[in-house]
Amino acid sequence: MTTAVAAGPVEYLKTIGLTTNQSGRGFTNPYDCAFAPDGRILILNRCDTVRASLVRIGMMNWEEDYLGEFSRGYGRGDGQWILPVAIALDDQGVVYVTDEQQHRVTALDTDGNFVRQWGEKGNAAGQMNGPAGLAMNAEGVLYVVEQGNNRVQRFTTSGESLGTWGETGDGPGQFNMPWGVGLDPAGNVYVADWRNDRIQKFTADGQFIAAYGASGDGDGQLSRPSGVCVDSDGYMYVSDWGNERVQILDPDGGFVQSLRGQATLSKWAQDFMSVNPDERNTREMSNLVPELPPHLDTPYLISSQTEPYFWGPVSVRLDSEDRLFVVESNRHRIQVYQRRKG
């Protein structure tokens, strides 16, 4: 693939979301997002153990209006989730969700009605082990990344297995606890090969094409990548989870840009600050990007202290306008960026 478009830098647009301990407006350990044709942004809230009952998909729009939420609740019943990881939306308005604890895919409509579910723990066709990343191509084929089986499995939207590829290892086409998956416009499949610190690219039916990245924290290097998405020019956006950053690679895997995060107050966060003057006033006199002592020198610890930086970037997704959504589980928000073309 050639680079028809010069690599332009990505610029920050804004932050959406707000921590919440209850249902309704706000995010609770967001894990993935998807975009409906009508402009709705769907946010999957995985939730922690204390707030497990709040597991849900929240809906909002680009203007940050809260548009409701839906789920079948926490549990093992039909359509219920325990540890959801990723979502995909089909052109019928059906939302598919992987659940790594229940080893299954669940389908609901956006009113929260149960449509279907499939899968059980195992390594046979149709079974799954730790399903994580999820993506749907233009033909409606679902790609499910199985961290426990170190493979990718394709399904029809009705849950029929179309085959698998991959095995345990670090060679081409092998995986070590893979997580996210993204597709390019041509239908090629990109897998965040989490514990191999690389992105692997495959044809739509699983033929190995290339691998990008190596272990490390330098330009173009990766540490435990959690997600990957690809824009219309073939540029790859990788949530470099272990490095708490986003790496942007050109279509040949060359380094383009690294983002560390620069979150600002979302509309909902501004609303909170406007009615909590004690916090607003002391916040305004604070330095939220502080110098840290040497023992707090890992990306994770730095992010835990530095609010604008990415902390727990678990997913990257592009909307129809090539806006990049970086979902941060530990900060309960999404930072949005856009690539300037030309």
């Binding site: 939730c47 997580w179 909902w268 966060a269 604070s286 610890l301 727990g312 530990n330």
Partner: protein, 471 residues
């Protein structure tokens, strides 16, 4: 390899660690007692459960917002580390420098404090006290963020002397004030915002912001101070220099280590060991590693009288049972319950009852706590499908040529769980139970799940004995 050697090594590993399987005990005995002490006080790579797999599976342990998630995260490390004394020492310092979640609302800061305790666990006590004084969780816990040049707050200065280094009776009220003056300006970054968030338990807008130390020179009282007979323009480190030189400090630290590792009560023989530890403290330039070496190699520690002379603390009981059962070796659904169990038993991690820490020894045991202790350990060791339990039964079955009688089952279980010396009354009761269950046929080819369950049932019952509840 004698039974006496195994029993002595089991004693060391119960105290300096969380117990050990028979296979591990045999390996360590082959290495030699004093070499094992050196291994323990000079920890290498921990090989604990990898942080990335924990944080991927447990979203709460990644964010580290919840009290019990933080506690369970630490328990994972205690369960899987190859350096048990390092974790035991971190637990010791957490007990001594007891800092609680309730005022902080900051589990990440508490985990960072534990990391500091681990990093300096067996090094210089001087360094430990300096790092403790710079620890943001401690600063908020004892109000040093409110200790200002023109308006001192004595809380940290007082506890540093009373609870963390010398003990009451070894300093004056004036020393407390001068100590507090020396620590003015020792605060945390963005102190006003962080204190506001802590007091409001705020998670908004984007969850907790962890804490770091900051020294504010403009808020430090640089005037002359007189502390324990020394005069100068002391800052906090100068005060700690004076503290660590005190005999009272040597006695305080040695006694607390003795009580944590050797015996709940100090008798005359124990007093002699403490004197030796104090001498080592000064000779080693306040190095905790050297003080521990003196303790573990003392005749007192190795004596029969020192064995089973301490009540297992809830955390060491839970961790010991899980390590022996071989469970929680990878991220496990519901693992945060482990932290809750220690709370039900009276030792909630990051939840000391006060800055004085927990009341240990026999106070660990009351009727409610004992039921929790027995139920938890019984559940772990009473399940023959748990890998450590299966390994224990496998070992018991090696080479057996006939079904085991009731008494043989009891003796084998007591041996592999300790070795434990059962009272005759306990042995008789257990034998009666085993007799009602029937013979356990562990011979290859005839061994069944029912045989394994009989042994596991006996293990479950053994964990309820007085002998098992002691370390």
């Amino acid at each position: 390899m004698s039974n006496a050697d195994i029993a002595l090594m089991a004693h060391l590993m119960r105290r300096a660690g969380f117990g050990a399987s028979r296979d591990e005990l045999e390996q360590r005995v082959a290495r030699g007692y004093e070499n094992v002490v050196e291994d323990l006080v000079n920890p290498g790579t921990p090989n604990a459960m990898p942080d990335d797999v924990i944080r991927r599976y447990h979203v709460d342990m990644a964010e580290m917002r919840e009290l019990n998630s933080a506690g369970a995260y630490w328990i994972y490390r205690m369960v899987t580390t190859d350096n048990p004394l390092e974790e035991k020492m971190a637990l010791f310092w957490h007990s001594l420098f007891a800092t609680g979640y309730s005022k902080l609302n900051q589990a990440r800061a508490l985990m960072n404090q534990i990391d500091t305790f681990r990093r300096h666990s067996m090094g210089s006590f001087h360094t430990m006290l300096v790092e403790l004084s710079r620890d943001p969780a401690m600063i908020i816990w004892l109000d040093n963020n409110d200790n200002h040049k023109d308006d001192i707050n004595e809380n940290y200065g007082r506890e540093l002397l009373e609870l963390f280094s010398m003990g009451i009776g070894n300093y004056t009220e004036d020393d407390v004030k001068e100590c507090a003056r020396a620590f003015t300006g020792w605060t945390l970054g963005n102190a006003e915002y962080m204190a506001t968030r802590a007091s409001r338990d705020s998670i908004w807008p984007y969850s907790r912001i962890a804490w770091h130390f900051q020294y504010r020179d403009h808020d430090h009282d640089d005037g002359e101070k007189t502390f324990l007979g020394h005069t100068g323009n002391f800052n906090g480190e100068d005060i700690i220099n004076i503290i660590v030189q005190q005999e009272a400090t040597a006695r305080f630290v040695s006694t607390r280590l003795f009580q944590f590792f050797a015996a709940d009560e100090v008798d005359a023989a124990g007093e002699a060991v403490i004197e030796q530890m104090m001498a080592t403290y000064f000779a080693s330039n306040y190095e905790i590693r050297s003080v521990l070496r003196t303790l573990f190699n003392s005749d007192y520690f190795k004596s029969e009288a020192a064995r089973f002379a301490r009540v297992k603390g809830p955390v060491e009981l839970v961790v010991g049972a899980v390590r022996l059962a071989g469970t929680y070796q990878e991220p496990t659904f519901g693992a945060d319950q482990l932290a809750r169990y220690t709370l039900y038993m009276g030792q909630g991690i990051f939840q000391p009852p006060s800055v004085e820490g927990w009341h240990e020894g026999s106070e660990w045991i009351d009727s409610g706590a004992l039921v929790e202790r027995v139920n938890f350990v019984g559940k772990e060791l009473g399940d023959p499908s748990n890998p450590g339990v299966k390994a224990l039964i496998d070992r018991m079955s090696a080479g057996v040529e006939r079904p085991l009688s009731a008494e043989e089952q009891v003796d084998a279980c007591a041996d592999l769980l300790g070795p434990m010396q059962l009272s005759s009354a306990t042995r008789t009761s257990l034998s009666e139970f085993a007799g009602e269950q029937g013979e356990a046929d562990l011979r290859a080819g005839t061994r069944t799940e029912a045989d394994d369950q009989r042994i596991a049932n006996l293990l479950r019952l053994l964990t309820a004995t007085r002998e098992y509840q002691l370390a």
